[in-house]
Amino acid sequence: MTTQILIAGFGGQGILFSGKLLAYKALSEGKELSWLPSYGPEMRGGTASCSVTISDEPVGSPIIDHPDVLIVMNLPSLDRYESTVKKGGMIFVDSTLVSRKVQRDDVKAFYIPSTKLAQDMGAQNLANIVLLGKVLKDCPAISRDYLEEALKKVVSARHPEMYELNLKAIDAGYNYTE
């Protein structure tokens, strides 16, 4: 099985970090994967996206034209990528930052106020991780297995305290009910 995940939002929201966490999780599971960032002059506040492909077989193209799973953290990203999602695919939306609903009825949409939940935790910059917790819960192709191993690899060694906080943020998203 191959799962193509596109994560998109503003630069500075941790879009690439979310992708890295998924990539390291796949590596820990012994799966094949690719991680491709958008790169460019954009910095904090600009648009950022990250394409992660996870597969049981060697990954062909790392470029994702039609994602199985779309994770969006701002309105421009939903506007831009909603139509590209595969029929039957899933869209995860940070409903604190994106006011509108998904318009397609041939995809499954999930809403979670991840920015607000992160703020309530006193960790506004972990909204991306809260959102990812929701994905781990509701997306059958991406389980919670090996999350701890992956998190240890992506959290900077200089900030070990961030490990626990990230786990808490994952749980906040994982246990959230709409």
Binding site: L27, L33, S61, I63
Partner: protein, 355 residues
């Protein structure tokens, strides 16, 4: 092979170079290869004999490479397209002085300052000269982060073996993407370098590194001798991947990121019953002419998939000797052909064949 780690392509090149015994790096930052320079800046000063130097320009960096190469040490520079153009004079000198060195080009769209998104439009520059005079580079084209590491290692070995500069021709996608990679073991140069300038200790004649020959007879001789070596490279070092070619009726030719997209297109087309295969050149100089020529006897046509206005297609046409039609499927300026585009052009070829 070690345990797999996740790395960006640019970092995999840098780490593989260090493991190949490269202790000298000279460069100048440019997107999309800056992670390579940064990795070297971080690691080299901590290694015994390690020298990292960010030169004041690309021209300066390549001439530092020329200098170190003359001492027989493994040495590398890297840049992206506009920076590689600046290095061409130095590359020609290194080729003219018969020195091994590794040059990395993580290509971006051009011409001119162009853009920073991935491209393959330096194919002509890499394979047909680039600088002045009669010379070639051995040009290796990675198609995965694993190959970014493996081919970097190979580039050092081949450069030493044949005493000529080798180029790793990647693109922005390959440089920026992360994939699991098993890093190569630590090795070093296995070739004796009696020509290197290492100090005579008053025990031998001076070695001279030079590319200036004012006598045309002598200069001609160096050219002929160099091309005898090139003939050996063409005979021994052609590398390519043949993918689903056994029963193929249509052959896609693509390298680097284009080959990755092509594989997705092939698996989609195979599901529809089209027998499509891929020849992926891993060396573009020497070009896998024989593989293409042999495919021409079996297939009905070729599609050259490129991130350029159509450069490799000329080599495909020369290799298949006009036996079959060759269509171009391309994007330029930093854009990448999609799976849908490759399928559509390949179907054009199928339709054309039925007429």
């Amino acid at each position: 092979m070690s345990e797999k780690v996740l790395m960006k392509g640019n970092e995999a090149i840098a780490e593989a170079a260090l493991r190949a015994g490269c202790r000298h790096y000279f460069g100048y930052p440019i997107t999309p290869q800056t992670e390579l320079t940064a990795y070297m800046a971080k690691r080299l000063p901590k290694l015994e004999g390690g020298v990292f130097l960010q030169a004041e320009s690309e021209i300066s960096a390549i001439n530092m490479v020329y200098g170190v190469a003359g001492t027989g040490k493994r040495v590398m520079t890297s840049s992206s397209s506009p920076g590689i153009s600046l290095k061409q004079e130095g590359i020609s000198y290194i080729a003219g002085a018969d020195l091994p060195a590794v040059i990395v080009n993580v290509q971006r769209g051009g011409p001119g300052l162009g853009g920073i998104q991935p491209s393959q439009s330096d194919y002509f520059q890499a394979t047909k000269g680039g600088g002045h005079g009669d010379y070639h580079l051995i040009v290796l084209t990675p198609s995965s982060v694993q190959e970014m590491a493996d081919l970097t290692h190979l580039a050092f070995d081949l450069a030493d073996k044949y005493r000529c500069p080798a180029m790793l021709l990647a693109d922005g996608t390959m440089g920026q993407m992360m994939e699991p990679v098993a890093l190569p073991e630590e090795t070093n140069c296995k070739v004796e370098k009696p020509w290197a300038v290492t100090g005579t200790e008053m025990k031998r004649e001076h070695n001279i590194i030079n590319s200036l020959y004012l006598s045309p007879e002598v200069l001609e001789k160096t050219n002929f001798e160099r091309f005898e070596r090139y003939a050996k490279i063409e005979k021994n070092e052609v590398r390519y991947e043949s993918y689903m070619m056994d029963d193929a009726e249509y052959c896609i030719v693509a390298f680097g990121i284009a080959a990755r997209v092509a594989k997705n297109a092939i698996s989609a087309m195979r599901k529809e019953g089209f027998k499509v295969g891929l020849i992926r050149p891993i060396t573009i100089w020497p070009f896998p002419k024989k593989a293409i020529r042999e495919a021409a006897d079996k297939v009905k046509g070729f599609v050259s998939v490129e991130l350029s206005m159509g450069q490799m297609i000329e080599d495909v046409k020369l290799a298949e000797e006009c036996l079959r039609p060759v269509l171009l499927c391309n994007r330029a300026g930093g854009m990448i052909p999609s799976v849908d585009q490759i399928i559509s052009v390949t179907k054009e070829l199928v339709e054309g064949g039925r007429k």
